[in-house]
Symmetry: C2
Subunit: 215 residues, 2 copies
DNA sequence: CTTTAAATACCAAACAAATGTATGTAAATG
DNA sequence: CATTTACATACATTTGTTTGGTATTTAAAG
């Protein structure tokens, strides 16, 4: 078998194996050979045919992890909602999405992989922050939000909800996580962005309740 | 010269060189040989005599960077101050300290070195957060602070002031940095911890004012 | 529809560079 | 004076990357 008809499948297999290993052992201590060994018969040449360096594999892995379909596209054209309501809807969609994909990021030991952690912070800032900013400014314009810190809040929401709420970086049990989330809600409220309403708290509670206890 | 009388000096030289290179080029692309080349005559054997791996050099470097003398020891026994005042004094000391050491962390391209960035987050959480927590709880007890989110705030202050205020991770010019800092102050205020007073704002303003413009 | 040329998916092995080790030696220590 | 220590030098090993080759698919031409 010298040539496969469906190379995309091979690429996926490589990324799956790499992601698993990077998360388990970290980028540095994962060797190309480790990846090859998980591929079932494929060779190192195959890997280097699809990716030109280990670095590039890492980039592809983090792209795939953090460029999940973002909920902002779905709410943007909802003319029936004001800025604040769009924000809330986006949060809701995102939350049920994460619940469905069985808490992708939450359970992951990102602390083991500094590169991935920083990539996550970076991609949040690049991709999510502008969307938050747009909606906050829309809310400021239509009167549903009142803040002079639109930019700051747009940067903080993704930072807090995805880094600060990562139990592998900031250890916390269920109750601790809930308390943190209430803090964020109350804080945003007092800063003029009453983002979290009961339906969101309910979703999040349910989400944390299903979270497995980890040491 | 086969044996040196003062090996500590050699160790320091190694750490200096390693730190410089790690920050310039990142951990991965810094080779042991690169470090050796900056050592003026010393050999690879010397490095491996003092550190048993490149990894261990990295650990030593980050230890040295982030275990700076913390200001909490100095304020703990000040019986004349209540919890809030101790917090404020600690912030003040820390701020003038950073100004004196010519903005160590602020100017550093930590984004280039994910390992160091994560080490920083980690060490902040391990070392600074407990100190903040202690003083916040003291303030809660003596009535100078009123919050049910002591733990959360103790975790957030170092996260925000050292990660979110890092321009190499969250790009911002002078005005942007000031605005962020005002946000933090106001936020803490509304959450029951009126930490930032005029004297602190003045210090911080001055600090940012001296900051070099970096695109 | 068949033939043929080109591109591609992959393998096996060699390469190069970087990390790490073993051994030796002279100065310091006690 | 014996031992430990701070290095140097040469060597071994690991690991990322490159190269050359082969079979299969795809595309073009007949």
């Amino acid at each position: 078998m010298a040539r496969n008809k469906y190379p995309e499948i091979t690429v996926e297999k490589i990324l799956d194996a790499a992601q698993k290993l990077f998360l388990e052992k970290g980028y540095d201590s994962t060797t190309i050979q480790d990846i090859v060994d998980q591929l079932g018969g494929l060779s190192k040449g195959a890997v280097y045919h699809h990716f030109k360096s280990k670095e590039e594999i890492m980039d592809a892995v983090s792209d795939r992890m953090f460029s999940a379909n973002n909920p902002f596209d779905k709410v943007r054209k909802r003319a029936d909602l004001n800025g604040l309501q769009k924000l809330q809807e986006a949060i809701r969609i995102n939350q049920s999405d994460e619940a469905r994909t069985s808490m992708t990021v939450q359970a992951i030991p990102l602390a083991r992989n500094p590169r991935l952690l920083v990539e996550m912070i970076e991609s949040n800032r690049r991709i999510l922050t502008p969307h938050y900013l747009e909606l906050i400014e829309e809310g400021n314009a239509d009167g549903s939000i009142h803040t002079e810190y639109a930019k700051e809040i747009a940067e903080l929401i993704p930072l807090l909800t995805s880094l600060w709420l990562l139990p592998s970086v900031f250890p916390a049990d269920k109750e601790g996580m809930k308390h943190k989330f209430y803090f964020i809600g109350q804080m945003l409220d007092k800063m003029g962005v009453p983002l979290m309403d009961d339906s969101i708290y309910a979703l999040v509670d349910e989400f944390f309740e299903k979270m497995p206890d980890q040491k």
